[in-house]
Every structure is written in structure tokens, then in C-alpha cells.
């Protein structure tokens, strides 16, 4: 052996505390490395972040933390941090990336002057769009106070189909609004969910479920992440899940293995539908058959559903989904038998809205979870409606072992909040007459003017996309650039990378951001961007507002927004700064409060015309939904002494009380109010009392949707009120079907499917959240670049080698990247990680960084629009779900072929490098982070 020296006692003492004499401090706050919002403890040494761990006393993550959360230190250290306000250098062109430092006062004066003028003349010319933020309660309030309808977050791009498809069917949805009860489920079916949403809680629950012997089936074109530990993987072709659900409903009804009692009692299955006009005309005693109501033929809604799925056989679905008919039959049997024959009762007494007392709640131990894989298709709304109906037939809605709501859901179908109905809702120097976003119940609640012109810049809630509950951020730049429906003046973007991954058709959108009209003026005259990092989007700003990171600011995760409620009751939480803001960074919330005061928006102004709130903390404590309502952003520790929950007077010590209580407030409902909440009298009374809902009416499940039928009737010319334009009648009649149906994604009709035979989709990796963390030195070592993942059969047929360079081409464009063979994808699908590729030198990465040389963005081959021949030659329409406006970015079809051997070994398209912005850091060659030595 080579032991040249005799062993001697260790010199380096591994137990010795580093930096003896250092100060140590632990502060609690809430994570924001993704949208999951876990409780964290930030351990500081000499004031620097030593480490961040999960807060064991936090109900959401119970002490665990993920890869992103564990890398928060590197967010603080990133050289991409913006630290000073910047404005475009006078005399330079937008997009050149030449910026000069300015002051916050200059920022506020510039914005106040500009926005005051817009507000006094034509408030819709100001548009505020935000990316991932979860501060929509504040940004939405601000836009409403300003008086512009042009506000939304990123939901239209992300998963509005999931929200709208389920909310319009069962009154609630997955993730923040509800989820699978894996504590009691025996069978868990996860569909179209990659690796996130709801990140740590889902991981905790999955592990517990598996260890308890639960069976986990994953239905997904790709087997990664959570699907890896599934007991069974059922590969499916993208965009075909709706056909699978229709066939499963067919099989369940055929076999009788579904919850007939639930369907009869708790859905509108017994409602009698007039066969002539589709209106509800009475109630049936039986679920099947035909009867006459006032001499007119009518059928129960359930009968119509049964007839609808009659042709949706397993064989039919097999040809569409690629799943064998036998497997579909087996899956249906397993779902039905588990729900019905492994049923159980929880001895929890409750009272329904009809006053009937129940001694127990029935468990149906089949739970589902689904997310973007269903949502991001133009047929996603009906796919998700079909899923919600499947879950309802199994009797699993807000029942043990099935789906459980989270407060403030369930809500009325549809919820009461509405978007603007006419131009009368938009007036100079006046708050909007309605909310900017909402849930139309019929065509009269659409945001269109007298000539059917869209009121919103993104055409949300217009006849093109009537139920676009989250807006359509993906069309804002294209529409504003084209001046269709109108031109705007100022676009304020918060934390959305619209010049890169938060947009479809990225290359063209970048051109639009710079484009000028015949007078040499920018078509979008003024762009302000608030972000913490030098993203691709900041390069296109005229004004840059440096935001703080999550460790540097106050935040309220409000029940008025997308809260973090648990199944057993409402929950909200806060962030408390643990370190000082870097440089001159200012939280966007403070910017809004300041601007609101300067612009004298009523909510931010006293009766005397003075400024109402000192800042964000003061605003959160004292703002109420209406004077004296006792309802504000935070529901915990209300009342003068902090002894009231949910409703109470403002409490000046509210922040301190959150800080003392793990930054989270959890209101546990009595057990009798935790289940069957759509029909639970005591719960619905509670929900009305605390203003979650406007009434105590039971929330019956819409197997048959009268809301959709009202639009269809309008399209058929059978309904008074707002009428659709001629060219959209056929589209609306087809897609506003009151019963679920499957049809191919809209893009297919405009695609040569033989030329472009492959589906191309993206997935988000667990260790990287969209584009957020390419500047994170640790996380980018896990994902610095991406490959196109291709089944070897498909790749070999195209002559593409493992590790080789290839072209991915759609009818919209092409890109060059590297291929990786994988057996974990169905052969008709290719996929890649989302948003790993970056534009050269963006995020202050080196020009040769892997993200821009080997990484790529699939968005370059995805279009934000489709041709609309019915409207005329050259006319276009958003490439979105015709019901909700959800971006159909998983619909793209591509072909692949090898890159020539003499081509550069780098990804394409390529862009001019971004210049380093003043105030950002200098990237080190070697980084050796050791907290507490600065």
C-alpha cells in the first residue's frame, strides 16, 4: 500500500465551528424560488445567508425544501442582479441595450407624468402585464383603480384551461384551489403533470401515498420526474387526453361502476334539457330517458351525456391516443372498482344545503392530479371539463380519497367577479367599473363594444375567446404592435420575460418590440420593465425598475389572490425581509403604492387628496375591501388586538404577529365543514359570512353547462343580447358545446400533418423554474443546456444520432439543437426542458455560456397566431383555446432532420449579445461562497 506516512491524528478538525465569534441569527419567511411558497428559515452568519432550510413548523412543507429553495443564496449573489434604476440612453435605439443610471425620483416623475396623462385621456392605453407574481390582488386592484382593462398575469399562457375547465364544472380546480387527497386515496392517477405544481406538498404526499401501498398511474407522453416512481406509466399522444376521458366515461356508464347517487344528488344530471333550445326546463326523477315538459321533448342532462359518449368507445379513443383499447378498458375498470368497491365512510356528521343531516362522509379513494399537459392545448378546456366530469361520476368531489377543495373555493359556477361589459366601464380619471378579469356567465358579460370590438388589448373576453378568465398575455405585444384592436401608449411589464420564454414566436415578438411606424415612432411607444435580473426583456425597456428578491421584501400571499390554503381550511402567508435590499432595489409593491399615491388613485388617496399609505406594510395593514368591511389582504390576527380571524378591524401589529407565527396563518375549519363543501350548509354559510362566496346556494356540478349553451344559442342566433360576428358563429357553436367533446387541436387544421408528423412539447425540470434561475450558479450546473429528447426509433428514422445536431422545423420556423435518445417518450412526441436556453449574454452570463451555445428555446417554432380564413384573407386569430384563450403552445407539430456536418455546432437562432447593464455585477471566474466573511 502507498501509505507512506503513519496515520496521525487529524489536523483539520471537522467539528470546529467556522468563523469563531461570528454572529448567528435565524429569520423566518416564505420561499419564492418557485410559486409553491414553502415556509423557510434563513440562517444568517454575520448578516450573510449561511443556509436556508425548510421551516418544520410550516404546514405547507413541514420542514422540507427543494433544490431551488436550497439555492436561494445564489440568487442573492447573482451578477445578473439589477441594482439601480436605468433608462434607455438618449439617442440610442430600443433593444440596443444601452442604458444609463437614473434615480427613483426620475422613475416616479417620468411614470407619473406619462400615466397621469393617459389616465386623464384614454386609460386603456396603459397596459400592465405581470409574469409569475402571486400578487395579483395588489396588481389587479391597482389596474382597476387606474381604470384600464388591460391587465393580466401569466395565467392565459400557463394553465387557465385547468382553472376555467374545472371552475366552470365543479366550482374549483387543482393546485392552489384544490388537489388530490392522497392521505386517503388508494389509486392516484396523474395526467399531464411533469415535475411541479404543487411542488413540495405533492412530493411529500406522493411519498407517503406510495409507502402506504397506494397505486400510482401516470398518464403522460414522457416518463420523467414524478412519473418515474409511478407503478404504471401509460404513454399518450399529446392533446388526446380528452378522448381518453370520454372513453373512460363511456366505459364507466356502460359498466354501471360509477356513483349514480352522487350524480343524481349533487350534479345537474337530473336537470331536464329542452331538446330544441338546450335550456333547462325542469327536473327529472330519473337519470335516463326522454319526457315531455309543457309539450316539449326534454331529456335529463345525464341522458345527454350518456348519448354523447355512446360513440366514444375504447377503440375510438385508442386510435386517437395511441393507448390500446384493452388498456383503456382495464383503466376504466380499475377506476370504477376502486371508487365503488373500496369505498369507506368517515364518521363525520354534516348537513347538506337541503337541511338533511348525514352521519358520515363517503370516501371514494380515487384521486387525480393534472396540470399543463392537459391545459396547454387549444382543446384543453373541454379535455379538462371531461376530466372533471369523470371525477364527478366517480363521486370523488370534495370527498375522502378523491379531490378536495381549498378555500376560498368552491365558488359559484361561474364565480361572481366579472370583466368590463362595455366601454361605459372605462372612463378617464375613474376606476374601472368592474374587475379587469373575471368569469362571464353568458354573452352579455363579454368585454366587447357595440360593434363587437374587443375592449381589451389582448382580446380577452371577446367573441374570439369568451371565457379567458386569466387574460391572454401571449397576444399583448402582437396586438399592440399591429394596433388591433387599438394602439396603446405604455406597457408596464413586471417579472415577465416577454422577449424570450414568456412569449410564443419569440424571434418575431422581439422584432415587434423594436418596430416603428411610418413616423419613426415606436409602435409600442413606451415600455417599462420591473425585474430583479437582467433578463432578455429588460433589453427592450425604455425604463428599468430594479426589483428586490424574495429575501429582501414584504409580501402578502392573500386569500384575495391565489393563496396557499390547505384542504382543511383557509391559509395565507407573508414574506418578511431577512436581508437588506441590494443597491437601490425597491420592491414592486412599494413602487405601486408610491405611484398610486402620486397618481391619486382613489384607493391610495385620502378624502383630502393626500397620500393614504406610508408604504406597502401600511397598505397591507389598513386597506379594506370596502370601508369597515374588516376584510383585507391578510386574514390572520385581525382586530385591534389581533384576536380576530378572517374578518376584523385593521391590526397595527399584524406583521409582527405573522412574524411570530412562522409567517403563516391557518384557519382550520370544523371537521363538519371540511367535506362536500359544494353542498355543505354550514360551510357555505361560513363562506358567505367571510365573503368567499356571494350566496349559500349549493354549487351543483355542471355535467351539462348552461353557461356554454348560452353562448351556443347566441351563435345560433337563438338568443337575445350580444350577438357574435358572422365569421365566429360556427366556431362558437362548435366549441361552446354544453357537453364535453374531443376534437383535435386547432393548429392541426392549419398544418400539413404528414410533413410535420411529430408533437413537440416542453416540460419544466424540478430544479429550475422557467427562466428564473439561469443566473443561479448552483442550479445552472444541474441544467445549463437542453437537448431535444427523441425516441431512438424516431431519431434513427430521421437519421439523427444520439448527441448529434439536428434541425427542428415547424411550419412557423426552425431551430438547431442537439438530440438525446430516450426510451422514456412515446415515439410520436419530442420534448425538451422549458426555458433553459438563453439569448447570448442575457442574465449576465458569459457570451460562451452553455445556455446560449447549446441551450435552445422551443418557442421559436411556436406561433402565437393561426390563420383565420373565415374572417378574410390574411386575417389571424390567437393560437389559443377558443373557449378560454389558453395559449396552445403544446399543439405545435414539427419534423426533424440532421444538421449538415459543416454547420456550426451551436444552437440557432442566435441573437446579438446583450450588453452588460450598469449596476449589474461582474461574473467571477471562480466562486467560493463562504457566508459571513464579507
Amino acid at each position: 500500500m502507498l501509505n507512506l506516512l503513519r496515520p496521525t491524528p487529524p489536523v483539520h478538525d471537522p467539528l470546529e465551528a467556522p468563523l469563531p465569534g461570528a454572529t448567528h441569527e435565524v429569520k423566518k419567511t416564505t420561499c419564492y424560488m418557485c410559486a409553491c411558497r414553502c415556509g423557510i428559515r434563513v440562517h444568517l452568519r454575520n448578516g450573510e445567508v449561511r443556509y436556508i432550510d425548510g421551516n418544520p413548523d410550516h404546514p405547507l412543507n413541514k420542514g422540507v425544501i427543494c433544490a431551488k429553495g436550497s439555492s436561494g443564496i445564489m440568487k442573492q449573489e447573482s451578477p445578473a442582479r439589477l441594482t439601480v434604476p436605468l433608462k434607455r440612453k438618449p439617442g440610442t435605439a430600443r433593444g440596443d441595450g444601452d442604458f444609463v443610471e437614473t434615480t427613483w425620483e426620475d422613475v416616479f416623475v417620468t411614470l407619473t407624468e406619462r400615466l397621469a396623462k393617459i389616465r386623464a385621456t384614454d386609460p386603456k392605453k396603459f397596459a400592465l402585464f405581470t409574469g409569475r407574481d402571486q400578487m395579483q390582488a395588489l396588481t389587479g386592484l391597482w389596474a382597476r383603480q387606474f381604470g384600464t382593462p388591460n391587465y393580466a398575469a401569466h395565467g392565459g399562457f400557463c394553465s387557465v384551461n385547468m382553472a376555467a375547465g374545472m371552475i366552470y364544472t365543479i366550482g374549483g380546480s387543482f393546485w392552489e384551489f384544490g388537489g388530490p387527497d392522497l392521505d386517503r386515496a388508494k389509486l392516484f392517477v396523474m395526467i399531464g403533470t411533469a415535475e411541479d405544481h404543487h411542488s413540495n406538498p405533492l412530493k411529500i404526499a406522493l411519498s407517503k401515498f406510495k409507502r402506504a401501498g397506494g397505486r400510482f398511474i401516470s398518464i403522460n407522453p414522457v416518463r420523467t420526474g414524478y412519473s418515474a416512481i409511478a407503478d404504471e406509466w401509460i404513454p399518450i399522444k399529446p392533446g388526446t387526453d380528452g378522448a381518453l376521458f370520454m372513453a373512460l366515461i363511456h366505459e364507466l356508464i356502460k359498466s354501471g361502476e360509477y356513483d349514480r347517487e352522487f350524480v343524481a344528488e349533487y350534479t345537474n344530471g337530473l336537470d331536464l334539457v329542452d331538446l330544441a333550445d338546450g335550456l333547462i326546463v325542469g327536473k327529472s326523477e330519473t337519470l335516463e330517458g326522454e319526457q315531455a315538459v309543457d309539450g316539449k321533448a326534454a331529456k335529463p342532462a345525464f341522458e345527454l351525456l350518456t348519448e354523447r359518449v355512446a360513440e366514444c368507445t375504447p377503440e375510438w379513443a385508442s386510435a386517437i391516443t395511441g393507448i390500446s383499447a384493452a388498456r383503456i378498458v382495464k383503466l376504466a375498470r380499475e377506476l370504477g372498482e376502486t371508487a365503488m368497491r373500496q369505498s369507506f365512510e368517515l364518521p363525520i356528521a354534516w348537513t347538506d344545503t337541503y337541511g338533511r343531516k348525514h352521519e358520515s362522509v363517503t370516501g371514494r379513494p380515487v384521486a387525480f392530479h393534472a396540470m399543463r399537459g392537459l391545459a396547454a392545448h387549444s382543446n384543453g378546456f373541454h379535455t379538462i371539463r371531461a376530466l372533471a366530469i369523470l371525477m364527478s361520476l366517480l363521486g370523488t368531489i370534495d370527498r375522502p380519497g378523491g379531490f378536495r377543495h381549498k378555500a376560498p373555493f368552491p365558488k359559484a359556477i361561474p364565480p361572481g367577479v366579472k370583466p368590463p361589459k362595455s366601454w361605459d366601464d372605462i372612463k378617464p380619471n375613474t376606476p374601472l367599473g368592474t374587475a379587469p378579469l373575471g368569469f362571464p356567465a353568458n354573452p352579455d358579460e363579454l368585454s366587447v363594444g357595440p360593434d363587437n370590438e374587443p375592449i381589451r388589448i389582448d382580446k380577452g373576453f371577446s367573441w374570439e375567446h369568451p371565457l379567458s378568465a386569466h387574460g391572454m398575455m401571449h397576444n399583448v405585444i402582437t396586438n399592440a404592435w399591429r394596433g388591433d384592436p387599438y394602439r396603446i401608449d405604455t406597457l408596464l411589464i413586471f417579472m415577465a420575460n416577454m422577449a424570450w420564454n414568456s412569449t410564443m414566436n419569440t424571434s418575431q415578438v422581439r422584432t415587434m418590440l423594436n418596430d416603428r411606424d411610418e413616423n419613426g415612432e415606436y409602435k409600442i411607444p413606451f415600455i417599462a420593465v420591473c425585474d430583479a435580473f437582467a433578463s432578455e426583456m429588460t433589453a427592450y425597456a425604455d425604463l428599468i425598475l430594479p426589483d428586490t428578491t424574495y429575501l429582501e421584501r414584504h409580501d402578502a400571499m392573500s386569500l384575495l389572490d391565489r393563496p396557499i390554503s390547505e384542504f382543511d381550511g383557509p391559509m395565507d402567508s407573508v414574506r418578511i425581509p431577512v436581508v437588506a435590499p441590494k443597491g437601490q432595489c425597491k420592491p414592486f409593491q412599494e413602487v405601486l403604492i408610491e405611484l398610486g399615491g402620486r397618481l391619486k388613485l382613489p384607493a391610495f388617496t385620502t378624502a383630502e387628496g393626500g397620500r393614504k399609505f406610508k408604504g406597502y406594510e401600511d397598505f397591507i395593514i389598513n386597506w379594506e375591501t370596502a370601508p369597515g368591511s374588516g376584510i383585507g389582504f391578510l386574514s390572520g390576527w385581525r382586530g385591534v388586538d389581533g384576536d380576530k380571524a378572517l374578518i376584523g378591524e385593521p391590526n397595527p401589529k399584524q406583521w409582527e404577529m405573522y412574524a411570530e407565527n412562522n409567517c403563516v396563518f391557518h384557519y382550520e375549519l370544523p371537521e363538519s365543514q371540511q367535506w362536500m363543501r359544494n353542498w355543505n350548509r354550514d360551510y357555505l354559510e361560513f363562506a358567505k359570512d367571510v365573503a368567499f362566496n356571494g350566496s349559500i346556494e349549493p354549487i351543483r356540478i355542471h355535467l351539462y353547462s348552461p353557461v356554454l349553451q348560452s353562448f351556443r344559442l347566441a351563435a345560433q342566433g337563438k338568443r337575445a343580447g350580444k350577438q357574435p360576428p358572422e365569421h365566429l358563429r360556427e366556431r362558437i357553436e362548435k366549441h361552446f358545446d354544453p357537453l364535453p367533446f374531443w376534437s383535435p387541436p386547432l393548429e392541426y387544421a392549419a398544418t400539413d400533418l404528414e410533413k410535420y408528423p411529430l408533437n413537440a412539447v416542453t416540460q419544466r425540470p424540478m430544479a429550475m423554474y422557467h427562466s428564473w434561475d439561469s443566473q443561479n450558479a448552483w442550479l445552472r450546473q444541474i441544467h445549463s443546456h437542453n437537448y431535444l429528447m427523441v425516441n431512438p426509433l424516431t431519431a434513427k428514422a430521421a437519421g439523427v444520432e444520439d448527441g448529434g445536431w439536428l434541425w427542428v422545423e415547424s411550419q412557423w420556423g426552425k431551430l438547431r439543437c442537439m438530440c438525446r435518445y430516450t426510451e422514456a417518450v412515446e415515439p410520436g412526441t419530442v420534448w425538451t426542458w422549458n426555458a433553459i436556453g438563453k439569448s447570448k449574454s442575457a442574465w449576465n452570463l458569459a457570451p460562451q455560456a452553455d445556455e446560449s451555445t447549446k441551450g435552445f428555446l422551443l418557442n421559436h417554432v411556436i406561433s402565437e397566431e393561426l390563420p383565420q380564413p373565415a374572417a378574410g384573407v390574411g386575417k389571424t386569430i390567437s393560437n389559443s383555446d377558443p373557449v378560454t384563450g389558453q395559449a396552445g403552445w403544446y399543439d405545435v407539430r414539427v419534423r426533424i432532420y440532421p444538421a449538415a456536418t459543416d454547420e456550426p455546432k451551436e444552437t440557432w437562432p442566435r441573437f446579438a449579445p446583450m450588453k452588460r447593464m450598469p449596476g449589474t455585477g461582474i461574473a467571477k471566474k471562480v466562486q467560493a461562497y463562504f457566508a459571513g466573511t464579507k
Binding site: 502507498l2 501509505n3 489536523v11 467539528l15 432550510d53 439555492s71 424540478m766 450558479a777
Partner: protein, 213 residues
């Protein structure tokens, strides 16, 4: 005699990398740190990590298994990295079996890395010393951390509780029970390194048996 170790449950590991970065953040500012990152914002970034997750595919479509496989030093009972060390920097602690590197003795010759059949060692390029998983020795032997936090950072972080920690020589410990009852296995036993860390295999729950319904 105590032998501390990790038992990693592949039945629930979803490959989230929480163990990778929680390890990095604890250890870079701890007694084993700093763990350097080369080119942290440039081409081919490469830093020192004591723990990495590898992902493998097994089988052919459609019968494909995707396996996430977290890997770190296995704290072998007979560690081949120790006797090859010319300076005695590589050593195994008598009191708890943790294999460590004494950075004050290490000359960065890499003999230990060559000797390790598992590729578990990483040369810290900045300090030119060999590094590896310490089982968070400064956490697990701490007298100041709350008792239930005297575990490796990766164990504390793991969202699926896939990482169990304890004394594999204590037959009543959680880790020994898990190994015994759930088919725990060591990596490459033919090398006779007697790895202390073990893995729990995937377990497939079959379709509900209709005969029993």
C-alpha cells in the same frame, strides 16, 4: 461500534435534486467549505458537489423505467480510498465510521479518487484538495443544533423522505429495519468495500386483485 450511513429509497426518489443543493449550501459555508464553482456564470460551469443525482433509463419503450439515483460517498466499512492515501489525509472515524478527508494533510494527489470504485470523490479545483460527503459530520455530532436536526442536510431537505439516516450497526435503528424489511442492497458488493450506505429498491404496486374484491 457505530457506523453512520444513509439508506436511500429509490421507490420514492423523484430526482428533484433537493439533496444536491441543500448539501452544497450547508457544506460550502461549513467546516468542509468553501466548495468552489469554476466558471459559475460561463461555459461548462463546474463546481464541487458532495452529492449528485444521476438519472437512468432502463428497458425499451413502452416498458421504460426511469430511475433517479442519488449518489455520494458510501462510507465503506473497508474503504479503498483510505489505505492509498500517501499523507494519511483520508481516514475513517473510529467513533462513527464516517470517512473523511483531512484538508490540512491532503496534497490533492487524487490516489483516493482513483481507488474509489464509486466515483464519489471530487477534487476541489480551487483549494486543490480532495473533497467528499462528510455525512454532515458537523451537523450530526453538533451539540448546539436541536436534537432532531442533527442529521445530514440532504436528509432534512428531502421532500419525499427518500433519505434515511442512522447507525447501520444498530439492528433496531430505522435504517437497519429498512434494509432488512425492504430489500436494502449495497452497490457493487463484489468489490468487498462493504459500503455503509445502502439503497432500497423500487416496488411496484400491482393492479388491485379483483379476486379479493
Amino acid at each position: 461500534m457505530t457506523q453512520l450511513a444513509l439508506v436511500i429509497d429509490l421507490n420514492v426518489c423523484v430526482g428533484c435534486h433537493a439533496c444536491v443543493t441543500s448539501c452544497k449550501q450547508w457544506n460550502t459555508s461549513g467546516s468542509a467549505g468553501p466548495l468552489e464553482d469554476l466558471n459559475p456564470y460561463g461555459e461548462s460551469p463546474s463546481g464541487t458537489f458532495f452529492n449528485r443525482v444521476q438519472t437512468y433509463e432502463v428497458g425499451e419503450f413502452p416498458l421504460t423505467e426511469t430511475v433517479h439515483f442519488p449518489k455520494s460517498c458510501l462510507h465503506c466499512e473497508d474503504p479503498p480510498c483510505v489505505p492509498v492515501c500517501p499523507t494519511g489525509a483520508s481516514y475513517k472515524r473510529k467513533e462513527d465510521g464516517i470517512v473523511l478527508v483531512d484538508y490540512d494533510k491532503c496534497i490533492g494527489c487524487k490516489y483516493c479518487a482513483w481507488a474509489c470504485p464509486y466515483g464519489a470523490r471530487e477534487l476541489d479545483e480551487g483549494r486543490k484538495v480532495m473533497t467528499k460527503c462528510t455525512l454532515c459530520v458537523d451537523r450530526v455530532t453538533s451539540t448546539t443544533l436541536p436534537e432532531d436536526e442533527r442529521k445530514p442536510a440532504c436528509v432534512m431537505a428531502c421532500p419525499t423522505s427518500a433519505r434515511l439516516f442512522g447507525d447501520v450497526h444498530d439492528e433496531n435503528s430505522e435504517v437497519s429495519v429498512a434494509i432488512r424489511e425492504r430489500g436494502g442492497y449495497a452497490l457493487m458488493p463484489e468489490w468487498e468495500t462493504k459500503p455503509a450506505n445502502q439503497y432500497l429498491p423500487r416496488k411496484i404496486t400491482e393492479l388491485i386483485d379483483e379476486a379479493k374484491l
